[in-house]
């Protein structure tokens, strides 16, 4: 029970910090700009993608629809969401250490393990809220403004056109996987937060790690081939697999396993570090 109270307290603390709304506001603003741009001149962007096909073929029907708009938004924003997540979750322990409230918190009748667990849970709930808000803006508002329709997705394999009645469950799956991937960022930043006594360190470190792993993942150099499949950043984009036909279940399952191993690793390191953290100074 005390664990739930502690989680509730952590959520209140997150809710009271102005920076927590920065992420939601940034997503709202960015999605608004993308929606406006697509409404104003979306077809030119689409024709840039389909230009080589349209020399011979003609696409009939509403290509620019709410489902495509949602996909474009996800594609554009999911890369930036980790920063917005780390901005809040990276501060959960180090922020309290910096303000000196961590010592006071530890005097309460709650074990350090439970205290850390409640921070992980609160960070996860915040991440979930970010993903849900992105989903509402992308899918609900996108479909409301542009209407439903078949989804045309451009993969490296070519164009995949998914029928309208086959799309919504894919979005549900994609958002679940995207949340699971972002949860890795949340856990990583909380883990790093255990080693720091200031707010900026874990946030910057999280972004530096993401940047480093992304570069290693995208560099087509054979020397990185053995490690690339085990980097969590390689699996951050696995939400896209839900828009392939047929669905690559093996690839999705593999991504979820790798991400789960990262979750376990970060939580374990955080528990180890937090249990031994000197909070008396």
């Amino acid at each position: 029970m005390i664990f739930l109270y502690s989680t509730f307290n952590e959520l209140i603390k997150i809710a009271l910090k102005p920076r927590s709304y920065l992420g939601l506001a940034a997503i709202t603003g960015l999605v608004g700009i993308i929606l406006f741009a697509l409404k104003a001149d979306g077809m030119s962007m689409i024709s840039f993608v389909t230009a080589s096909f349209e020399q011979t073929l003609r696409f009939e029907g509403e290509v620019l629809n709410g489902n495509l708009v949602a996909f474009i938004i996800l594609q554009m924003l999911i890369v930036h969401i980790p920063l917005l997540v780390a901005l809040v979750t990276g501060d959960l322990i180090s922020g309290e250490a910096a303000m000196g409230t961590l010592r006071m918190l530890a005097t309460k009748p709650i074990s350090r393990r439970q205290l850390l667990g409640s921070k992980f849970l609160a960070g996860g709930i915040y991440t979930l809220l970010i993903v849900i808000w992105l989903g509402v803006l992308a899918v609900v508002v996108g479909r409301w403004l542009f209407g439903p329709g078949d989804l045309m997705v451009l993969n490296s394999d070519g164009l995949v056109i998914l029928q309208e009645n086959d799309v919504l469950w894919r979005y549900a799956g994609a958002f679940c996987v995207a949340f699971f991937a972002l949860l890795t960022i949340s856990n990583l930043s909380i883990c790093l937060s255990c080693f720091s006594d200031n707010s900026i360190g874990p946030i910057v470190s999280t972004m530096a790690i993401i940047l480093l792993f992304t570069i290693i993942g995208t560099l087509d150099v054979p020397v990185f081939d053995p490690i690339r499949p085990y980097l969590f950043t390689t699996h951050m984009a696995s939400w896209r697999s839900f828009f392939e036909d047929p669905l690559p279940w093996d690839s999705i399952r593999n991504s979820l396993i790798i991400l789960t191993l990262h979750h376990v690793l970060f939580v374990s390191i955080a528990l180890f570090a937090f249990n031994r953290k000197d909070i008396t100074v």
Binding site: S156, L159, T233
Partner: protein
């Protein structure tokens, strides 16, 4: 002299025959002023994965096609209207006999004007039933598109039950910058080593001829 005259007469007959066949095809085409039909469009194109789509097609004489589909469908650019263009403007083309193939008369249609969008057209005609069984139209805008026709109940109007468009898809390219799959850097394209021809099958049913 008698043999020479006979030879000249036979050449004249051969020269007139494609014109007559083409004229009769045009007359048959002119019978239909408009029609509506339900079509099932099934593309098989490298680099594009799409399920068959149903669409309603409205034809208005001479060469207007309106396609309405519930979702996204893929059709050859101007694929439906190029043959009607040939028939609606017979004076713009000169028919030339190009032999026979499987009992079908082959007629090559050459444009009379240099700036015509259609550069060359070839049609395989069942002269007995006056049906175009195959067409190969090369245009400036779309390249060469081959189309095969099957007929069923509406063949008296010259309306097909199935059309198969075959087109060259060598020039299709995926803009790499837009198709960023982070975990797919080393995966080869599916089309490598495969045929570079694409086809679109269109099945027609429920004709409503006016």
């Amino acid at each position: 002299m008698k043999y020479a005259l006979l030879l000249l007469f036979s050449f004249t007959l051969n020269a007139q025959k494609p014109e007559i066949t083409f004229k009769r095809l045009v007359q048959k085409f002119n019978q239909v002023k408009s029609y509506d039909v339900v079509a099932t469009i099934k593309p098989t194109i490298p680099l594009i994965r799409i399920l068959p789509v149903k669409a309603n097609i409205h034809f208005g004489y001479p060469n207007t096609f309106q396609v309405k589909s519930a979702g996204i469908s893929i059709l050859p650019k101007n694929g439906f209207s190029e043959l009607p263009i040939l028939f609606s403007r017979p004076n713009d083309f000169t028919p030339i006999a190009s032999g026979t193939e499987n009992n079908l008369e082959i007629i090559t249609l050459l444009p009379n004007q240099n700036d015509s969008n259609i550069i060359l057209a070839k049609i395989w005609v069942d002269a007995g039933e006056l049906l175009v069984m195959k067409s190969q139209i090369t245009s400036r805008s779309n390249g060469t598109i081959t189309c095969e026709f099957d007929y069923n109940q509406e063949k008296t109007w010259g309306l097909p039950s199935h059309m198969k468009f075959v087109m060259d898809v060598n020039k299709f390219k995926i803009p790499k910058g837009l198709a960023t799959d982070i975990n797919r850097t080393n995966r080869p394209l599916e089309t490598e080593g495969k045929s570079k021809k694409g086809s679109i099958d269109v099945y027609f049913n429920k004709y409503n001829v006016n």
